[in-house]
């Protein structure tokens, strides 16, 4: 087998897969009877140009960095955590419970870190059980995390329409977070020092997302634990014979993964809505899978992929206003195509490329 040059493997092939996904989308737009170029320019304007657009894009990027990192950490151990959606949902509950319990006597400086911990802890808890079941009972993590998404959603509906429901509401949603438990938004912070930017829900969570990226990078590539995790991903029996406590590693990896997914709640719940609403993760947990796949499970790649998807999501809302026949669900379609081409069909071009490069070498 010929090894491909690094630039082909890490740059050219991913870009070709991405281009294919966009090419298919362009064909679909043509079939619908609109111009793909016009659709693209609406997307780009919606994502970057309009006032506050970039803020929204970065706000979505923040959520996707958390859910993308969550998938990536588990994936380094060959564990498919597709429960990010449920873990983020429960993360919102964790932040809410901490905020409600402590809001009467704790200042903001302590409140926010504790709420963040609450979000991470509940997310971790929701991944701990599937992780434990995989490690000690051999239940398949994919199936259990899917089931836990639904179980979590059921519990949250029960709570949000029950004991945590804010009185006087017609829709199930929680009590409000006190101001001390809200993540400060960037446009208010900047206007205090005299810089005016467009209004957007972009908040300080983005700094925590950046810290999480650095933390994950250090953890996976610069610690013993990370080395053991990657060894486990390469070959579980080999790691076991080398003395890695595989079951315990599975449980901790899943907890870290779930904790990261839970942190998504600090961005949406504490940074924007100020309350826990029904289905607030809104598919970001699933988009995290696409982000991790495109980003090759590396924090740097994840930031780029999260930005791409964040821009698509924000730009996609603009499609609703500009076109009669195209809506933001087009972005969901693009997302599915990207997962298909960069994930499931990621090896499609490899044999062909290998043949090309083998010929070059032999010449």
């Amino acid at each position: 087998m010929t090894r491909l040059p690094a630039w082909v493997e890490y740059l050219l092939i991913p870009l070709m897969n991405l281009a294919l996904a966009f090419a298919v989308t362009a064909i679909i737009v043509l079939i619908i009877g609109e111009s793909p170029i016009e659709a693209l320019s609406v997307l780009i304007n919606g994502a970057f140009v309009y006032e506050g657009a970039l803020g929204y894009t970065l706000y979505y990027t923040t959520s996707l960095i958390f859910t993308g990192l969550a998938v990536a950490v588990a994936f380094h151990a060959r564990l498919f955590n597709i429960g990010g959606e449920g873990q983020a949902y429960l993360g919102g509950l964790g932040a809410l419970l901490v905020a409600l319990a402590l809001q009467d006597w704790l200042p903001g400086l302590l409140m926010i870190p504790l709420c963040i911990l609450g979000a991470a802890a509940f997310g971790a808890l929701w991944a701990l059980i599937p992780g434990w079941l995989q490690a000690y009972r051999g239940s398949h993590i994919v199936i259990t995390t899917i089931m836990f998404n639904f179980i979590g959603a059921g519990i949250m509906v029960g709570l949000l329409s029950g004991s945590l429901m804010r009185p006087g509401q017609s829709n199930p949603e929680s009590y409000l977070f006190e101001d001390s438990a809200r993540m400060p938004q960037l446009h208010t912070l900047l206007s205090e020092v005299g810089i005016e930017i467009g209004r957007s829900p972009l908040n300080l969570s983005i700094i925590f997302a950046a810290l999480a990226c650095i933390g994950v990078w250090l953890l996976i590539w610069r610690t013993r634990w990370g080395y053991a995790l990657r060894a486990m991903g390469e070959s579980e029996p080999a790691a076991h014979y080398a003395g890695v406590p595989v079951p315990r590693m599975i449980v901790t990896a899943m907890c870290i993964s779930g904790g990261l997914a839970g942190l998504m709640a600090i961005n949406t719940v504490m940074g924007d809505q100020g309350k826990v609403t029904l289905q607030f993760p809104a598919g970001f947990g699933f988009t995290g899978i696409a982000v991790a796949l495109m980003g090759r499970s590396h924090p740097f790649g994840i930031v780029l992929a999260a930005f791409l998807f964040g821009a698509l999501l924000q730009g996609g809302t603009e499609l609703d206003f500009e076109f009669k026949t195209i809506t933001r669900e087009m972005v969901l379609l693009i997302q599915g195509l990207i997962i298909l081409f960069s994930g499931a069909l990621s090896l499609m071009f490899v044999p062909w490329m290998e043949r090309r490069f083998a010929r070059k070498v032999s010449e």
Partner: protein
């Protein structure tokens, strides 16, 4: 509650179980051949849209059914192309199909009908209507057996009866035919099938075609028999419950049927109990009752009662030795 009330609950359980049965059988055939099928949900949704769209345009429920089957088989073939031909990750491919379907169905229905992702409501003659079995009215006065026949057995739409037939059919196909033996062998030990001179690829593709057909029928049931048109996300997790039922039934047709009926019964019971307080716990929101199938499946998977052993080669692409 009277005898008739019970019959009506069972009757609606049967209807709610129909898409589960068809999808779970689809998953069973596919997973017995070694292909993980998380994409059941997407195929169900795609089928539901195709059926409603074509029935709206042509006015024929039958053409809708065929379109649903075609759409669902197409999604199955994408799955096959990714994970049989290109040996891609089956779970990722399944997720891709689910997301693709939930985006594409809305995009297509907005483009075709511009009604915010729905299709127009179908008339009675554009849908599958209930079939009254012979003698249902005549026997209605016979105590117990009469209402049982009239309410529970008779008066369902065609896809419900197809689902009922699908279970023995899948059993017969997989356990009583040569094709079935080979198909199951491909899920346990593809190398053995390969060395017997049979094509692992073609066998697995055929399993996926069968799965596509079954999911397509389930989709048509949702939008042209049970409902009267397509609504966005109308599969509402049924594909995943079917997956749970398939595991709960340990990849065997009759236990899987039992699991589907149980899950259908839970949903029917929850619908009926809505708003009435239960002893001890008080009023339970329907969403909480609806998570019971998932909890049951997790407990089963944990090995606390029985053990669910998947086909041995499940999830691994077959690579021929060179």
């Amino acid at each position: 509650m009277t005898y008739l009330d019970f019959l009506l609950i069972f009757d609606s359980s049967l209807r709610l179980a129909t898409p589960l049965i068809l999808c779970a059988m689809a998953g069973l055939v596919s997973e017995r051949a070694g292909i993980v099928d998380i994409g059941l949900e997407g195929k169900l949704l795609g089928g539901a849209f195709a059926a409603a769209a074509v029935a709206t345009i042509t006015g024929s429920a039958w053409l809708g059914l065929f379109a649903a089957i075609a759409c669902s088989v197409l999604l199955s073939m994408i799955h096959g192309f990714a994970c049989i031909t290109h040996k891609g990750e089956q779970i990722i491919s399944g997720i891709a199909i689910n997301i693709l379907a939930s985006g594409a169905t809305v995009v297509a229905s907005v483009a075709l009908f511009s009604r915010g992702g729905q299709t127009p409501t179908l008339d009675r003659d554009e849908r599958f209507s209930p079939i009254d079995l012979p003698g249902a009215e005549a026997l209605a006065d016979v105590p117990y057996a009469g209402p049982f026949y009239k309410e529970l057995i008779s008066g369902h739409t065609l896809p419900v009866y197809i689902a009922m037939i699908a279970v023995p059919l899948v059993w017969w196909l997989l356990w009583r035919t040569r094709f079935g033996l080979r198909l199951r062998a491909v899920g346990e030990m593809p190398a053995a099938v390969d060395s017997a001179g049979l094509s692992v690829t073609w066998l697995r593709y055929r399993a996926l075609i069968i799965a596509g057909i079954l999911c397509g029928i389930a989709g048509a049931f949702l939008s042209t028999a049970h409902g009267a048109g397509f609504v966005r996300e109308m599969s509402a997790g049924k594909g995943y419950i079917a997956l749970a039922a398939m595991i709960f039934g340990k990849w065997r047709p009759w236990p899987v049927l039992a699991a589907c009926l149980l899950f259908g019964f839970l949903e029917a019971g929850a619908n009926r109990m809505q708003g009435t307080p239960l002893p001890v716990v008080g009023e339970v929101p329907i969403e909480v009752v609806l998570i019971l199938p998932y909890i049951a499946t997790v407990v089963l998977l944990a090995g606390f009662f029985g053990k669910a052993t998947p086909p041995r080669a499940l999830g691994t692409p077959y690579r021929k030795e060179r």
